[in-house]
């Protein structure tokens, strides 16, 4: 296999990692009936908190943990607004994105001032479990977080389909009245789903600042949260299908990076737009028979 393809596959896995984490997080929320549009802001917040904590403590893993906790905290806020108060989910989600983006930028200035070059950190290094093995060696030279993200996919599947809690999440997202009548606490399940899901979003952000970039920039998330929302529809709310969506997007993204340097005489914006165009195309095909969780966007209140 030629070098180009090997490099492409390896880059695909790297680019897909935050998408996998973010999409699985969003999946938890949406399967419980809550559209979490806070995702973009929560990822940004996670990237920032992870970066600061890792820098201050000197431990990258402590940074990741802090990002997860920060995400879960944001999920708690989202749950309070959307579940407890029954605020419109578009409003509360976008509100959280705006709030966390602003808050992170503000805190960034407090900590770092206005640096000319973005502050950086010694990032995670890649593992190469297969060493110098031809083809597979370089493909699987990846960050530990990428392996973790890949491992979480079946874990999420198991949690949703093979645990009582997962059964409750699915029931609450489809028909909260039925869950309530069966003695399930709709609020408790939705709180938990939002906190777990948002924690995963925080980890997605930390991957960008602590592994892929090793730095924190204003545009670090660059709409990846919104891509995750689209990938959920593409994957029809199924963890395994969602993985394929993340890999597809990651693949096209990695490809356009390589095309930019290939000498093709096109404005680079065209290449940049490519993954998003593919997403739209994929969505128009897959989104047509999308089956939303029936209770998505609907606050639940017992009469």
């Amino acid at each position: 296999m030629d070098i180009f393809l090997i490099g492409l596959i390896a880059a695909t896995l790297r680019v897909a990692t935050p998408l996998i984490l973010g999409t699985l997080g969003e999946l938890f929320c949406e399967r419980a009936g809550i559209l979490n549009l806070g995702i973009e802001g929560i990822m940004f917040f996670g990237a920032f908190v992870g970066f600061v904590v890792a820098g201050a403590s000197g431990s990258l893993w402590l940074g990741v943990l802090a990002a997860i906790l920060a995400g879960a905290l944001a999920g708690l806020l989202m749950a309070f607004l959307a579940v407890q108060l029954g605020v419109n989910q578009h409003v509360s989600g976008l509100g959280i994105t705006l709030l966390l983006t602003g808050f992170s930028l503000f805190s960034f200035r407090l900590v770092f001032g206005e640096p000319r070059v973005p502050p950086s950190i010694d990032p995670f290094s890649r593992l190469s479990p297969l060493g110098e093995t031809p083809i597979l060696g370089p493909i699987f030279e990846q960050y530990a977080l990428t392996y973790i993200a890949l491992a979480i996919v079946p874990l999420v599947w198991w949690a949703l389909y093979r645990t009582s809690f997962g059964l409750q999440i699915r029931a609450v997202g489809e028909n909260p009245e039925a869950a309530d009548a069966a003695g399930v606490s709709v609020y408790r399940v939705r709180y938990a789903a939002l906190m777990i899901g948002s924690g995963l979003m925080g980890a997605a952000g930390a991957f960008l600042s602590l592994a892929q970039l090793g730095a924190f920039t204003y545009g670090i998330i660059a709409g990846r949260g919104w891509v995750c929302i689209a990938l959920i529809i593409f994957g029809n709310w199924e963890p395994i299908k969602v993985l394929w969506g993340a890999l597809l997007f990651g693949g096209v993204f990695a490809l356009q990076l390589r095309l930019q340097t290939s000498g093709l005489q096109l404005p680079y914006e065209v290449f940049l737009a490519l993954p998003y165009l593919v997403t739209i195309a994929a969505l128009t095909v897959a989104g047509r028979n999308a089956s939303y969780p029936a209770a998505l966007l609907k606050p639940y209140k017992r009469e």
Partner: protein, 506 residues
Amino acid sequence: MIPLMHAIEMRSVTKRFGALLANDNVNFDLAPGEIHALLGENGAGKTTLMRILYGLYRADSGEIVVGGQPAHIASPKDAIGLGIGMVTQHFTLVPTLTVTENVSLGQAGGLAFDPKAARQKVADSAARFGIEINPDALVRHLSVGERQRVEIFKALYRNARVLILDEPTAVLVPQEVDVLFETLRRLQSEGLSVIFISHKLNEVMAVCQRITVLRGGRAAGTVNKSATTQKELARMMVGRETFGVTKEGARAQGEPLLRVDGLLVLDKKGWPALKGLSFDVRAGEVLGIAGVSGNGQTELTQALAGTLKPKAGNLRVGGRNLTHASPSQLAAAGVGRIPEDRHEGVVGELTVAENLALENLQDFTANGMLDHRRIRENAEKLIAEYQIKAAPTTRIRALSGGNMQKAILARALSRKPQVVIAAQPTRGLDVGATDYVRGKLLEQRDRGAAVLLISEDLDEILALSDRIAVIYEGRIVGILRAGEADAELLGLLMSGAKEMADGIKD
């Protein structure tokens, strides 16, 4: 268990919704091992009483005793804990989950959910109760009857000793009703007590030992089946010996202006809602359609409005066949409509003037543009004529129910339609507005229009109709002159206990 002890006792239970007294000092008791019917017209308070027992509503006052012990029931969880299960009118199942998952939902049992073990448990338990269900089926693939079976099983699986069924037969076809009754009798022989809500006399007589009748939120009495008749029950349910309201000034009637012949209409789920329904309404008469809600009134209204396409039969207005006409074609042919839900009859965000023009925009259009002056003048005229308390520029959603209904009347009647179709025209209105609307409908009759009045309010039907047709399960089971109507006959017809042998009586 002590044999004669009450399984459940509800003592002077009262429940208000705002100003509405839904349950008024109701006493109700259920003996162990009996099937006890809760009988009553729509709105009598049956569902409310049982939702209180199942912890879905909280009573304002009164007490509940279960198995001799005073019980505090604040949520379905408490009720389940006391061995009470309820199958509500709208099923509480998750359509995307399997039967096993639905039944297991909310049941204690560790973190891991082992589908195989759960399936086995459900299958074994179903076999023990003799209930035929497929544990692997997705609920959304099940028929209504099968879903009901799952609901009943769900209650039994949670060790219910008392089973409440809220109008369980309303959604079933006759064959399924037979199966349900067989199941209930078998469960009864195993010691289960059942509260069976219904408004159908024949069913109540077929399966129950005792019957408690609710009327207007009060218990009208409890009787033993062996000591009563359908006639007596009908009287208790409707509450009057005779109505005796004959229409003043019955008019010489003219030609049939609205003719419905053999109408077959399917509801949203694909079940036949109107099964070959026929009647006609003549110029200068009010034909009232009486019936318990859910017997096809909604579908009839929609079919006559052109929003639900009949599968068979036809619909003629003044001799013209308009079976497949669109709503606007029907309006153009001279059909004026008062829709069942007045909020669906208007666009809340638009102004009163805009709503008044909405159904005949072509009259208010010049060169493809709306003629705002004409729209406004039209509104001012109608507001004065129909005493609507609003300005032309008021958003219509801000109007009270009575004023909104007047606006709808104004829009429908100002064009002097030859056929008027009024569905539940006074539902939720205060006395003044009710009188106004009824007066307007009688005016239409006197003007020579054919008026079809579809109403679940028997008093209204009796006050306005020249003839009364009774609808039951999608068919007209009898047509009588207003003077011939008495409680017994209407009650029997409305609950399906009787069908007039000669079909349509003139």
